[in-house]
């Protein structure tokens, strides 16, 4: 991986790109800068305040869920025909966001994109937390959540098992696998840094804690050798996985017969959308974090610009998806599909559809301009817009398709309740609570991998030296 592709020590003249790590850093300074955030930096009032805000958000979620378990899903806006509402919208949204991390660490690793090294760590953490948020919904959206374990295959006295033809079961497996593998991937990446923290820590308790987590990592060449193989294999496995997860999620819709769901373009365009929103979230988090914790040296304009480019590309794919959907609606000549198109454009939810197009397709075109790719302020704003847009996309797909399907007599409208909103905002609170804790207790960028980026990390072919 990274170490097998030495970056030339002196940057070639023609390459004027911003480096992925600012000059003037040594092995020690990197370790110091990163680990000090965890070990030395005092807890600031701002951090505590922010944490309390996020934490109260998380508690709002718990409250909303408590009431949900008492009363039932009827407290939400869902109804017949709109059997799925915010719960599934949020689920898909979060899962999508959860794609960036593993994608960055896996796919970019395979593609030998050295610029990934400084953002992969918290991108992966972000992934974990996003998946955790997503995981809440399939569970609680059921009418009888206390029986949701029936979706897992286990021998039981009923001699009855899950129904493996159902996309929801596929979901269960895809999402739980994704969660597990992301966790493993993330932890494997952490081990060397945990060792660093262990060795840099002064407080004996902290020493012991990191010591246990590092499991006695001592950076032996043998360890590194196996470590790199394992990491490479994980990346290799995670790559198809990350692509499969949102494909499977899209099957929830594509496999059904609902007009607006039953379409073969969903898998690719869901995956693209996922990466789209994922990177948006990464950028949303990266910009403030690097500012607050002075990480500009490691998370440079190069990273941000590349992310912007990725967003632009995936955004275009998503746009293509929308176009094809509309085109097929017209081209198929199927009365239900063509009505779906009409209904999106002129129906009661037309404003939502319009704002979706604007925030997801039109505004991101600004990324063609270098100014918007490099201005952290605009980058941040645009990422937020994209996040909203991607949420709207799921709203359109789920609600607008369901509310007017085959039988005119059974058409309906969807009105989210305050409980819907509390649950949604609550998960955001939960997500940020975890992020808040993460940046303080674990190295937010990978120390070991950053070190490999330093010129002095690169060795010449031993033989030459030898003779």
């Amino acid at each position: 991986m990274a170490t097998q592709t030495p970056i030339p020590v002196e940057v070639p003249k023609e390459d004027q790109r911003v480096p992925v790590i600012e000059p003037g850093h040594s092995f020690a300074t990197i370790g110091e800068k990163v680990s000090n955030i965890v070990l030395r930096r005092p807890v600031s009032l701002g951090w505590v305040f922010g944490f309390l805000v996020m934490f109260s958000g998380m508690n709002m979620l718990l409250f909303a869920l408590g009431y949900l378990f008492m009363k039932g899903t009827g407290i939400w806006g869902i109804t017949i025909p709109i059997g799925w509402g915010f719960a599934i919208i949020n689920f898909v949204w979060w899962i999508g966001i959860g794609h960036a991390g593993t994608l960055i660490s896996a796919i970019l690793a395979l593609l030998r994109q050295s610029w990934r090294n400084s953002i992969n760590r918290f991108a992966e953490a972000m992934t974990l937390f996003a998946v955790a948020c997503a995981g809440v919904f399939p569970l609680v959206h059921t009418g009888r959540p206390w029986l949701a374990y029936w979706m897992f295959p286990y021998p039981n006295s009923m001699n009855y098992w899950p129904q493996f033809r159902s996309p929801l079961i596929w979901d269960v497996f895809a999402v739980s696998t994704y969660g597990t593998i992301s966790l493993v991937f993330w932890f494997v990446g952490l081990i060397p840094d945990l060792a660093t923290l262990r060795d840099r820590a002064e407080n004996p308790i902290i020493q012991k804690v990191f010591g246990l987590l590092a499991m006695g990592w001592r950076g032996s060449a043998r360890h590194w050798h196996r470590y790199e193989t394992a990491y490479l294999l994980l990346a290799g496995l995670a790559t198809p996985l990350v692509l499969s997860v949102h494909t499977v999620v899209s099957f929830d819709f594509a496999v059904s017969i609902v007009p607006g769901w039953h379409t073969t373009i969903f898998p690719p365009y869901f995956v693209a959308g996922a990466i789209y929103s994922g990177f948006a979230m990464v950028v949303c988090l990266a910009i403030p974090i690097r500012a607050v914790y002075g990480m500009e040296d490691f998370i440079t304009a190069r990273h941000l610009e590349n992310s912007a480019k990725v967003m632009l590309a995936t955004g275009l794919i998503v746009g293509y998806g929308y176009f094809i959907e509309a085109f097929m609606g017209w081209y198929s000549g199927n009365t239900f599909d063509s009505f779906l198109l009409w209904n999106r454009l002129h129906g009661p939810y037309a404003p939502w559809y319009m704002s979706l197009l604007i925030s997801n397709i039109f505004i991101p075109q600004l990324f063609w301009l270098k100014y918007f790719r490099t201005s952290t302020f605009w980058l941040w704003i645009l990422s937020l817009v994209i996040l909203v847009g991607m949420w709207l996309e799921r709203f359109i797909i789920i609600v607008v398709s369901l509310h007017r399907d085959f039988l005119n007599s059974s058409w309906g409208m969807y009105y989210p309740t305050k409980w819907d909103w509390m649950t949604y905002i609550g998960t955001i609170g939960m997500f940020l609570t975890f992020m808040w804790l993460f940046v303080r207790v674990l190295p937010m960028v990978s120390i070991a991998e950053l070190r490999t980026l330093l010129p002095e990390a690169h060795v010449h072919e031993a033989e030459e030296v030898h003779k």
């Binding site: 378990f69 009363k71 039932g72 899903t73 009827g74 407290i75 806006g77 869902i78 109804t79 017949i80 025909p81 059997g83 799925w84 959206h141 059921t142 009418g143 009888r144 959540p145 206390w146 029986l147 949701a148 029936w150 979706m151 009855y160 098992w161 899950p162 129904q163 033809r165 159902s166 996309p167 929801l168 079961i169 269960v172 929830d252 496999v255 059904s256 017969i257 609902v258 009365t335 063509s338 009505f339 009409w342 209904n343 002129h346 129906g347 369901l402 007017r404 399907d405 085959f406 039988l407 005119n408 007599s409 059974s410 058409w411 309906g412 409208m413």
Partner: protein, 1022 residues
Amino acid sequence: MDENSKLKGGPDVCPGKRGQLDLATVKAEIEETSGPEYWRSLEELAGSDEFREMMHREFPKGASEWLESFSRRGFLKTMGASLALAGLTGCTKLPDTVIVPYVKQPENLIPGKPMYYATAYTLGGYASPIIVESNMFRPTKVEGNPDHPASLGGTDVYAQASLLDLYDPDRAQTVTYMGDVRSWTAFTEAVRGPISVQKGIAGAGVRILTQSVSSPTLAGQIRDYLKANPQAKWHVYEPINRDNVNEGAKMAFGEVVETRYDLSKADVIVSLDADFLYAGFPGNTRYIRDFASRRNPDAEMNRLYVVESTPSSTGMKADHRLPVRAANIENLAHVLAAGCGVASSATPSLSDQETYYVMAASKDLQDHGGSSVVIVGDHQPPALHALAHQINAKLGNIGKTVFYTEPVDANPANRNQSLHELVEDIRGGKVDLLLILGGNPVYDAPAELEFASALKSNAVALKVYLGTHNNETAVLCQWHVPEAHYLEAWSDARAYDGSASIVQPLIDPLYGGKSAHEIITILAGQPGLTGHDLVQQYWQKQHTGGDFETFWRKSLHDGWIAGTTYAPKNVSAKGISPQRSQPADANAIELNFRRDPSIYDGRFANNGWLQELPKPLTKLTWDNPVMIGPAMASRLKLSFKDVVEVELNGKKVKGPIWIQAGHPDNMVTLFLGYGRTRAGRAGTGTGHDAYPLRTSQAPWFASGAKLTPTGEIYNLASTQGYQTMETPDGSDRPLVMETDLEEYKKEPAFAKEGEVPKELTLYPAVDYSKEMYAWGMAIDLNACVGCNNCIVACQSENNIAVVGYEQTLKGRHMHWIRVDAYYQGDRNNPKGYFQPVPCMQCENAPCELVCPVGATVHSSEGLNDMVYNRCIGTRYCSNNCPYKVRRFNFLLFQDWETPQYKMMRNPDVTIRSRGVMEKCTYCVQRINEHKIDAETASVREGKDVRVGDELKTACQQSCPANAIVFGNLNDANSAVNKWKAQSRNYSLLAELNTRPRTTYLAEVRNPNPELKPESQHERSAG
């Protein structure tokens, strides 16, 4: 987990089932123990007044409070008692109260097997003969009486829903005096004095106010009393009355006669504002059957012309419908009469369209002299009825399609007049003892009478009210005696054809309710006589020759008394041609009053099943709208949800607008029965009360109403999202396949266009032909008249919950079968269609594929099973159901607390709890019952016994139109196969290749070739 355990023991319980064991023991011990000591024991158990009083002390006075402080403990005691009492009715072989069960009833009960009893349900004096299913002595289901000509197995929504009234927890629980709990004995003591005083003065101060009475026994009782006390008076009032009909008959024949129609022989039917295909119209059950039997395009098809004011389901079935303001219908009638050769006093001028229409209609009538009929709505003026009699006479329909008999009503006095006299007497201080037997005059009397104030004034010394609920009238009377439900007390009644049925109870009064009969015995000073005695005595007198016991048993068993059907009588229409009343001002807004399709005159306001029953056209629930037509709406810039104020001679009511396609212009319709103030938990405060605008001068329609928008907004809870098959993008969806007779003859298979060839699938098709059974259903859209019967029948059979206004508004109603209503064409006079939609039981069920836990899967017989106890409630199945027939328990919709409901529920159907999906099962509990019977039989008799067409689903069984047929597709001679073989047969959304087991027979209209709808549209457009 807590919920988990709760789930095991709790919600999934089926109370009925739970009850079985205890009930069985109770029943058994009742069955075995012999007379006297058994009596004593039950007295101790519950019979005695002391017990009741003790128990009722737990109920605070005043309905409003005790709804909240509803004492469960007290109730459970009552239940314990009444369960035992229930047993008593069922099976003690006491000589004086033998109840003879129907066909299936075994000599002595088999626990776990239901029994069936014949009895009759009475509405507005007209009896609907019914069979009631009783599980462990709890009445659980009402069915029509297949052997009775007035039912032929069908029922109407009110009869179906009357079961819920029996178990209504808001029913009056006890005798009260000025709101304080008293015992029945206390009451009899208290009234004895005044009654004896009245005896002295020939009952001069006694007034009896009843609703329409067709009970020979009761009428006899009252008459006897009046004979003994000539000064006493009997008044009759009912808001939904047939005054106009009777007056019209007097006008034509000089006497009140009952007009009965035989629609099976009518080729041409002209309805002048008569909604004869919906519950509430006397004989509607039979009329629907006869009408539907003539809608088969492959046989002689009848033709229906409907000229109507307020759009009705009858109008929607018309081959030619003409929306006209109520007041103008008389004009049309005169032209029609003239066209039929009746010398009419006047020839009013009509619009081109009207003339065109009426001419064609009258020509059609004349072509079918003797095989046609003109029916006039109850709310049209007497003159019009008289005219109709003349037309029918002229066409030679009398004796062929139209018959005149004795009035079914025992006292066909003019209702409004009768009440007028009563109020005068009250105001004149002539009344000392007022007996109000049923009804709710304080709420529904004509406004100008101010009945309430009359009653409040202390002019009347003693006011006694017999009523099921502590309602508006009850609070204004000192004494309130709880009235026994018809399933609790003995009586008798006459059906529309005059045939008398014995009303036999299936359960002892849950709250010691009394029947009118018993009240009269107190009045007549013959206490101790039970309803049973009275009824039996009466018929003993009528009975001539033969052993009375066998006659009595037979009458009970059959459900009616042989030979009591009124023979047609010859009446000659007088020559006089009725004058037409002054034509109303064309510009003034006409205000119409109509009975509510669901809660009638308000008596069903507390009946959740009916409150939540989507009204046939609007699909509204829990409310009554201010109904106007599209033209008027656009003129006044009114839209849905707008709350308007309707004013008539200074009186005002406020209500939300509903724009009804096909509603005549410049006319407003208000529906009666809502805005109750003391109805109960379900009825109180729903909708608005239209009675204050209704006077006895203009009981049905009045001119000169004012409409003023209030700027308020109110959401009406309609269960149907969109009411045309044409989608907003202008494309048409082939949901109800429809054509007219000519086209049909040319292309009989027109409906099959969407069908997909069987081989069009990647998978090997599952083969059901080898199975013993393959269940399927077919629904004839031509026959269906949108009477809603199936919905209530299904609700009752399958323990379907009532969810209330808010939830219905959200679209969470639970009906397993719904009747979609679609309009097509000109909004001012559209074509209308009804389409009942149960679960389609698709062979390639989209719902099953997506269920993660396999809670909905296919049975070997092709049923789409829904396993509630496996369901975790992802709602994915519902999303993926193209027919949206699945219903989800978003909250805990079932009432687990109220003991009455536990008694009411069908023990063979699981009660669904919160978070569980449910849907139509083709009444799988009935299928299994029949299968098990057939199989045990085949083992016992050693031959192959199979379930045949005797197996009926609840919707099918109660359908008065025979529009639904269900059966075994693997049985070549099954009725369902015959239907599905017809060329009209098609499956809904066939192109999805879901292969529904439920299919439809396409609708074929029979328009008059001279009166093509399109040409009609041109005119209406012009």
